[in-house]
Amino acid sequence: MKIYFILILYFFGFFCYSQSQNVNDLITKKISANHPPVHKHYRSVMQPKKNTLQHINPFNYISIGLMFTYQRVITQQLNGSCAYENSCSQFTKKAINYYGLVKGSLIGLNQLQTCYPTSYLDYPDHKINHNLKIKNPIPVLNED
């Protein structure tokens, strides 16, 4: 009896595993997928790393709070587009996470000073994407 019970479970699992995609369901999904719901894209909040000093340091939380208010409240009220792929605030966030608070903020503000419509002319072709925006990942420096 046990063997037949196992066989029944085996068949049942086989039928459950095979998910059928009906053509009718696909067509209805296709028609409704052209107009998806409107979602507001909120960028992730900066967090202190696992270092104990960063958890204790109050300036860390001040910078997190300022960045949060700027990105959620103030950016919607301003007009303008960035010349870089990663906006200046997003770049400073990543730089702070990688280099630390002081260095990261200084590097981010340096990018803000060069954020100009024709600044892409300073960069080589493979650093510019199809929207004429400069690709700016965090530069990892080699130990030369």
Binding site: L106, I107, N110, Q113, T114, Y116, S119, D122, K127, L141
Partner: protein, 265 residues
Amino acid sequence: MKIKKIIILLIFPAFSFAQVNTEFIHHLVSKKLHQEHYIYLNKLNQTIPLNDTVQLEWLKWAIFYKDYNQFESLYFSYQNNSLIKKDSCLLLNASILALKQKPLQINKWFAQTEISNNSTKINQLFTLYNLSENIQNYKPSEHHFISENLHYYFNEYQKYYTKKPMVAAMLSTVIPGSGKLYNGRKKGFFPSFLMNTILGTFAYEAIDKNGINNAYSIFSLGIFSVFYFSNIYGSYHETKVIKQEKKEELLYNVSNHYYTPCLYK
């Protein structure tokens, strides 16, 4: 008898490939049937494992679909394969892929001197890579095989390799934005210079009329100082970044110059 027939039908496939058919592989590649291509190579691996031509086809597949890490792991496991080291097109395209994808252990590939003697193009590519690692040794009169187009990128990299970050920082203390000119970012000089001068005038005017103990003067001085120091540190940091950028540009152009689509011809 019936059981024997059932066993034969279940186990024996309708067909079997005992030899590598390179024309069939070219047919699959030309029709862009990547799924069938992968299945065919897997089948060959099962039927005739440890075959030199099968290993060669796996390497070509890895390069064609631009997976250098897989290529490297397969290449170093097929050390006894003599066909691979004779195929100059495969080795050339592999080194070009290494230059474009820039894996961590790129020096492992370019340290193989036996490959460099395979053909003139590969030899040139290896010498150019070694030159890029030791750019101080670059002299245009000694390397005649380098084209004019590539000479330009070598000269640029050599020029920016000798630039010093402290000089850029000192220049930007005197004139804000001049460090960017030193680094080659000509379009970035004017906006940073303007921003720093405007913020400086705000701070100067506030301190001149209201003194330093006023809230607005502290605020304007604070903003000006932050932008000023970011300009200095940014130009210091950018000299290091530009060295890497020029090297990447050089290797990108070298790989485009030497690229030849000859894998499946």
